[in-house]
Symmetry: C3
Subunit: 110 residues, 3 copies
């Protein structure tokens, strides 16, 4: 049986800020895996003008249970005024889905 | 409250055609953001043989309201006979979702 | 009318293993197109430590009818102990969707 998990896509200004976000998210156990994709070039309207930026795209994989907390965590730390932040549900294979759920268990504070 | 938006994935032969498509789509206010990902290598069957091509992958983000019009726009201008054209819905964070909706308002013709 | 198709995302250790998987999948007619994306850097917990790996991300496009068989095929051949394996449904444009369905017809054994 496949396991539902959550994919989150965002962009960061550079590899350094993407790496820092990955580290913070993993230490908080809010995602099981953070994939930094290569450089991308985004084209968009911003305050009335056509702009483009080099960015780094990041795909995070987390459990359904922790996805809202991950979103709040990223929104609080993201360097942009209006970051790209996209979420959708996917099915993971049983082994990968169980791993995602296990790695995003909330740490015990005893 | 997260906001539903539409993701569209297509591939173009090179960075130049990807840039031209991004520009046309944004000028028509049919997407809020067009992200050109790095070069990809596609492997596929075509007319009976195994082929591979270097391509440029493009991810477009638009509103639910404008997604059908964006699809028709791209299909009419795409240089391939049978372009890759994939669409799925995602949830955007409130700020990003409102920005996508605002940037894809149909222009007023007065 | 758009046509439902299935997207599958996995990662492989390098371009060579990604190319071999693409070839095997296409020869078995289990996907219509396999896109090898550029190098990615994955950050994750593994057996208690924070790890990162350079990997190659692969996006496969197949029909709804063949997606379970594709998943079993990849799980049986993937070099990792717990490979990333994510699946979600998308809508393809009519032309692309019909092509995906046609290219993933099970071969006749007569």
């Amino acid at each position: 049986m496949n396991v539902p998990v959550v994919l989150m896509l965002t962009t960061l200004p550079d590899a350094e800020s993407a790496g820092a976000l990955a580290q913070a998210v993993l230490e908080a156990r809010l995602a099981a895996c953070v994939t930094r994709l290569g450089a991308v070039e985004s084209h968009y309207h911003w305050k009335g003008a056509l702009e483009s930026s080099e960015e780094v795209q990041v795909l995070l994989k987390t459990s359904v249970a922790r996805s809202e907390e991950l979103q709040r965590f990223i929104e609080a730390r993201h360097p942009y005024e209006t970051p790209e932040f996209l979420v959708w549900q996917a099915d993971a294979s049983p082994g990968y889905g169980q791993w995602v759920n296990a790695e995003t268990q909330r740490p015990l504070h005893v």
